[in-house]
Every structure is written in structure tokens, then in C-alpha cells.
């Protein structure tokens, strides 16, 4: 099997899944989505192992493409599997479930297209198409807040992406082509136009990646979307936008304006992480808290991309391990939403007493995404900070260290209070499953015994968290090997 054929399978599987999902037969949407996601994962695994590199028809493959493909398809698979559990709690939905699965497949397809296609214009088209396919998924639960979040997401992100289209037009205006493989070997013909293109790409794709100050949509969309969709947003959609930006940014490597652009990008990255790190600790809604944590991670990844050297390696490791850990956190939060029917932290205390496995999984996922060793995010953050130090930028090193510590304390303090705090006295009527056993403590207050949790809802976040752990311990050589051939 040639690489082009594998790439066609990788993209064709979710596209077929989308079409099959619409067939009017009960259950076919779930099965087809699962099967197609599994095929997509298999194809991307073979691509990762066989290490194709270069141009294949309309596609361009390098180490970053291979790693992004496997990450997107793996998160797609786990999100489809988790949806089987999560959708049971939704009584009245904005979309029919077959449309939900269809759009989810299309969402994965557009992200995979964005990271594999060779033409920067098509990269933009694919990133814009992710907005079309995902906007309606946010409003699935038909709440007033989720509809408003979908509106804000669509308007802000689309308005921002128009700016990145300006970047594409400027690149074409200067270089006369949009083929990435050609652009890589072509020095900028008009350095100023290309520099402006990078600036516009930063603002445009940065809006989609949740880079401050264009991040207004991010906490709303993440907190209001169903948990499997929040997981896909945070784990793979934001990095896909950063990938699109990095493809324009790299074109100016080695030019006289590159140092200035590097400083600009680092500035945006630091500002994003700092704002998010400060806000995390003051959140009242745990899904919004996770959203700000994603923003903090994206800021650090942006700094890694701008720094270059081992910073790039750190950024890639952080993208992958954050994807698995954050999706685990969102799936665990989905278990809590299903049980408590609320996302307010003040209404949920002592999760561990009621959802024991979920409580531990949520805590460990939060530790992982904030860079606790030995999870992969720690390795990524450490490498980015090391690159800052190696490049002699001690102020940046100190700022990064402060951000890491602040975000770590902010997120984990809130999580600990929620998971291990005194148990909330919730009546069985409020429980969506109506299966919690009520007993009385020595003061006569009603408390609930741990309930038996759905196996699927525990297994999926456990697998993702496990992968994040394995990345931190064993997988460094694989990433190093993948990145070594990249410009």
C-alpha cells in the first residue's frame, strides 16, 4: 500500500462514516462511526510506522503530519466511543443523533484534511470547514446557553479566520503559489508581504486556537458543548489551528525578519498562558476551568513553536500528551455532568464518595494537563522551558516557570476541593440515573454510597490517561525520530 492510498483511507473513512450515519436504520450511525474511526486510526498508525515523507498527490507528509494524524484519529475514536454512553442522558436534542454522528465524522475529516493537504489555501478551507461542521454540535443539548455559545463560536471564529484568508492571499501575492512543498524551498520574494502574512495568520488561526485576546469564544464553546465534543475541541481542534499557523510561520525561517516575528509569537503565547493561568483558579464551572487550561497549554505550545530547536519537540510532545490527558479530563467531567446534571463546582463536592473511579480519573487528568511528572505534558513543558534557557532568554524562562506553577496550583486546588471535599447532599431526584443509594450519617444527613459506574465511561478516559502517561515515560525517542527530518 502506497502512502497516497493510506492517506485516502485515512480521509475516506470518516467521510464514509458521515454518509453511512445518515442511513435511516437504528444504531447504524454508532457502529459505522466506530468502525470508520477505527479504520482511520489503523491507517494513521501504518503511516506513522512506515514513515512516508514528502509530497503524494495533493498531500504533504512529514513528522508533524504523521503525529497530528494519529492524534486526531485516536481522539476521534475515543470520542465516538464515549458518545455512546454520553448521549443516553440527552432527552431533547438540537439535532437527531444520526446528524450528530454525521457531523462528528465530518469534523474529524476536516481536521485530518487540514493536517495532510499540501496547499495552504486548502489548509485554510479545511480549518474554516471545521467551524461549519462543529458549530451545530455545540448546541446539541438545546439549552439557551449552548445555542448562544454556538452563535458566539461561529461568529468570532469565522470573523477571525477571514484574517487568515488574508494571510493566504498575501502568500500567493508574494510567492505565486500555495503549494507548501514548493514554498518550503522557495525564499520569500517579498519579505515584508510574507511577514505580514505571518502576522495575519497568527491573528486568524490564533482566534481558532484560543490565543488571547481573540479567545472569547473558547470557554463558552468548551463548557456548553457535549463532553465528547469538548474533548475533540480541546484535544485536537486547537492544535490543528496551531499547525496551520506553523505552516506559514516556518516559511520565514532564516530570514532577517524571523527574529522579530519570533518575539511577536512568543509575546502572544506568553500573554495567552498568563491570562489563562490567572483565570483558572477563579472559575465556578469545571468545564470552563478545563477550557482555560487548554488555553494555557496552547499558549505554551505556541511559545515552543516560536522558540524552535528542542522547543518544537517539546511543543509536539505537549500537543499529543495534552490531547490524551485533556480528553480524559473532559470524559470524566462528562460522567459528572451525567450524574449531577450541573457544571457548577459549588453544587458538586465530594465526587469521590459517589463516583469513585471518575473522581480519581478527573484528579489524575487534571494533574496530567498541568504538567505533573511523569505525564507527557511535563516533558513537553520542561523541553520548552529548556529551549528558552538555552536561547539565553532568562526572563522568558522565569515567566514560563511562574505560569506553570500558577496554573498547576489554580486547577488542582479547585479539583481537589471538588473531588475530595465534603460530600454534597444531593437528593436522588436530582440524579439523572436515579440509582444512587441514600443512607444517613450520624447527624441524620442523607449521604450517598458510591454507585456502580458505567464501565465504558471509565474505560475510555482511563485508556487516554494511560497513553498520556506512556508518552511521558517511554515515547520520547519516537517523537525525536519523527521530528528529526522536519524543517
Amino acid at each position: 500500500m502506497g502512502p497516497e492510498f493510506l492517506l485516502l483511507i485515512l480521509l475516506g473513512a470518516p467521510l464514509s462514516g458521515a454518509l453511512i450515519s445518515l442511513l435511516p436504520k437504528k444504531g447504524v450511525e454508532m457502529v459505522s462511526s466506530l468502525v470508520m474511526a477505527a479504520i482511520s486510526v489503523t491507517a494513521s498508525l501504518i503511516i506513522l510506522i512506515s514513515e512516508p515523507s514528502g509530497t503524494y498527490g495533493y498531500f504533504y507528509v512529514d513528522g508533524l503530519t504523521r503525529i497530528m494524524s494519529i492524534t486526531i484519529s485516536a481522539i476521534f475514536l475515543t470520542s465516538v466511543a464515549y458518545s455512546i454512553f454520553y448521549l443516553k442522558r440527552i432527552k431533547e436534542s438540537f439535532l437527531r443523533f444520526r446528524w450528530y454522528y454525521c457531523l462528528m465524522n465530518l469534523f474529524a475529516f476536516t481536521m485530518l484534511l487540514a493536517v495532510t493537504v499540501n496547499d495552504l489555501g486548502f489548509v485554510w478551507l479545511a480549518v474554516e470547514a471545521t467551524t461549519v461542521t462543529s458549530a451545530l454540535l455545540i448546541a446539541l443539548e438545546r439549552e439557551r446557553t449552548s445555542i448562544e455559545a454556538a452563535w458566539r463560536y461561529t461568529l468570532i471564529v469565522s470573523a477571525g479566520l477571514v484574517i487568515s484568508l488574508l494571510s493566504v492571499i498575501f502568500v500567493f501575492s508574494s510567492q505565486g503559489t500555495l503549494q507548501f512543498s514548493t514554498l518550503l524551498h522557495q525564499p520569500p520574494k517579498n519579505l515584508m508581504i510574507m511577514s505580514m502574512a505571518v502576522g495575519f495568520a497568527l491573528v486568524g488561526y490564533g482566534t481558532k486556537a484560543g490565543i488571547a485576546p481573540m479567545h472569547a469564544w473558547l470557554p463558552d464553546a468548551h463548557s456548553e458543548a457535549p463532553s465528547p465534543i469538548s474533548a475533540m475541541f480541546s484535544a485536537v481542534l486547537l492544535p490543528t489551528s496551531l499547525y496551520a499557523f506553523s505552516r506559514t510561520f516556518v516559511l520565514l525561517q532564516g530570514t532577517t525578519t524571523f527574529a522579530d516575528l519570533q518575539n511577536l509569537v512568543i509575546g502572544f503565547g506568553v500573554m495567552t498562558s498568563l491570562i489563562a493561568a490567572i483565570i483558572i483558579g477563579h472559575q465556578r464551572n469545571y468545564k470552563r476551568m478545563l477550557a482555560y487550561s487548554s488555553m494555557e497549554n496552547m499558549g505554551i505550545i505556541l511559545v515552543g513553536i516560536a522558540l524552535g530547536g528542542i522547543g518544537i519537540l517539546g511543543a509536539i510532545i505537549q500537543i499529543v500528551s495534552h490531547a490524551f490527558a485533556k480528553s480524559a479530563a473532559f470524559y470524566s467531567s462528562g460522567n459528572m455532568v451525567a450524574e449531577y446534571n450541573t457544571t457548577k463546582m459549588s453544587d458538586i463536592q465530594g465526587v469521590i464518595h459517589r463516583l469513585k473511579s471518575t473522581g480519581y480519573l478527573f484528579t489524575l487528568s487534571c494533574l496530567s494537563v498541568t504538567g505533573a511528572p511523569p505525564f507527557g505534558v511535563f516533558l513537553g513543558e520542561f523541553m520548552i522551558m529548556s529551549q528558552a534557557m538555552l536561547s539565553g532568554n532568562f526572563l522568558l524562562t522565569i515567566i514560563l516557570a511562574v505560569i506553570y506553577i500558577y496554573a498547576f496550583i489554580g486547577l488542582n486546588r479547585q479539583t481537589t476541593l471538588m473531588v475530595f471535599g465534603q460530600q454534597t447532599n444531593v437528593s436522588t431526584e436530582e440524579s439523572s440515573q436515579n440509582s444512587t443509594l441514600s443512607v444517613h450519617d450520624y447527624e441524620g444527613k442523607s449521604i450517598s454510597k458510591p454507585k456502580k459506574e458505567n464501565r465504558l465511561s471509565i474505560l475510555i478516559p482511563m485508556i487516554n490517561l494511560g497513553i498520556s502517561l506512556v508518552i511521558g515515560i517511554y515515547m520520547f525517542p519516537i517523537f525525536l525520530h519523527a521530528v528529526s527530518g522536519m524543517k
Binding site: R144, E148, A159, S223
Partner: protein, 219 residues
């Protein structure tokens, strides 16, 4: 065969200025209907401009782009948006911004002057055609409309204005770009999703297009 357009530069300049004036007119409206009609006129003006460019360059992509712009943004979107307005008994007036429209027009004029000054000193030296400053300013005015208004339909008009600006600029500085028409199609699909589905859902859920009481979505 390239068609020789008489007074080409004068026509392009005149249409460009008319587009800017339509944008300023929108900034000054506190009712939604005239804003929608103005965006329709603006889109048709841009269609005319792209047709002139097509006749001047003989690039078929520009003709396709003109057709898409004229049909979708000049006719379909405004009609669908006016249909949304009909759902409300009274003419839609923006309660949040109606008192500020004169100052918004002034802000618009200031943005035009500052935007042009920045563009002239930073961007223009690297391009051969000075008229590209108009779509750049149009883009900024589109943002102004989105940022300053609370009504979803007016915000949508701001978004369409941004689209107009970007395709106008694309047609001027990179007419050879093969994907320009595809870009327009994707942007229009986006528009259909926003106007057709999300706006309807918002209208049904809130009974208004200026939702403002959502404490959960803050912080």
C-alpha cells in the same frame, strides 16, 4: 480576449468609494432592515466591481466569483435575513446601540482615516495598486459593526461585510489564485449555517436576537 474597459480606473475608484459609503451608512442605522438592505447593495456593488475586473483581465475565476457574490450575498442572504426580521411584530430596533449611532459613524470615519494612514505607510509600499486600501478599511469597518452591535442580524451583516472586503482584496491583488471561488463558496456555506440554523434557534430560544441575560457564559 481582454475587453478594454473605458475609464477603468475611474469606475473601479467610484465603485470602491460607493462600497465605503454603504458601509458608513450601515454604521449609522439603529434599525435592522436598512442595514440588511445596505449589505445587499454593497454586495451588488462588489459584484459589479468584480465583473469590471473580469472584463479587464479576462480571468474566468473572477466571473464565477462575481456570480457567487451577487447571488448569495446580494440576494439570498439579505432575503433570508429579512425573513427573520418578519418574525418580530415590530420593526427590529437595536435597543443596545440605538443611541450611539452618530458616534459610531464618527468612529467609522476615524477608522477609515487611521486605517488608510497605517495601510499607506506599512502595506501599500509593497503593492502596485493603491485601491487595495479600500477592502482593508472595509474589513475594519466590518469588525466595528460586529463588535459594537448586540443584534445578531447586524453582527451577521458585519461578517458579510468582512467577506466582501476579503474577496474584494483577493480579486485585486491575487486574481490568478485558483481557489478564490472555492473560498467564497465555503464562506457562503458558513453564512448559510449561521443564518439558517443558529439564528433561527436563537430566535426560538430567546424570543429576541439580542440575548444578554446569560450569567453562565461569563468569567
Amino acid at each position: 480576449m481582454v475587453f478594454v474597459v473605458p475609464f477603468y480606473e475611474e469606475i473601479v475608484g467610484f465603485l470602491g468609494i460607493s462600497v465605503l459609503l454603504s458601509s458608513l451608512y450601515m454604521q449609522g442605522q439603529s434599525f435592522v432592515d436598512p442595514t440588511i438592505r445596505a449589505i445587499a447593495i454593497q454586495s451588488l456593488l462588489i459584484t459589479a466591481l468584480i465583473v469590471i475586473l473580469f472584463l479587464h483581465t479576462d480571468d474566468l475565476n473572477l466571473l464565477y466569483l462575481a456570480i457567487i457574490t451577487g447571488v448569495m450575498r446580494g440576494i439570498v442572504f439579505p432575503l433570508v435575513m429579512l425573513y427573520q426580521v418578519k418574525h418580530f411584530r415590530h420593526k427590529l430596533r437595536e435597543t443596545g446601540t440605538s443611541q450611539k449611532t452618530p458616534s459610531l459613524v464618527l468612529t467609522g470615519i476615524i477608522i477609515i482615516i487611521i486605517g488608510y494612514a497605517i495601510f499607506k505607510s506599512v502595506v501599500l509600499p509593497y503593492f502596485s495598486n493603491p485601491e487595495i486600501s479600500i477592502p482593508f478599511v472595509l474589513l475594519l469597518l466590518g469588525f466595528l459593526l460586529i463588535i459594537t452591535r448586540k443584534n445578531s442580524l447586524t453582527q451577521m451583516c458585519g461578517y458579510i461585510q468582512e467577506e466582501n472586503g476579503i474577496l474584494y482584496m483577493g480579486a485585486l491583488i491575487a486574481p490568478g489564485i485558483q481557489l478564490l471561488t472555492e473560498f467564497a463558496v465555503v464562506l457562503d456555506v458558513m453564512g448559510v449555517v449561521i443564518i439558517g440554523v443558529i439564528l433561527s434557534a436563537q430566535r426560538d430560544a430567546f424570543k429576541t436576537l439580542e440575548p444578554s441575560d446569560l450569567d453562565q457564559l461569563s468569567g
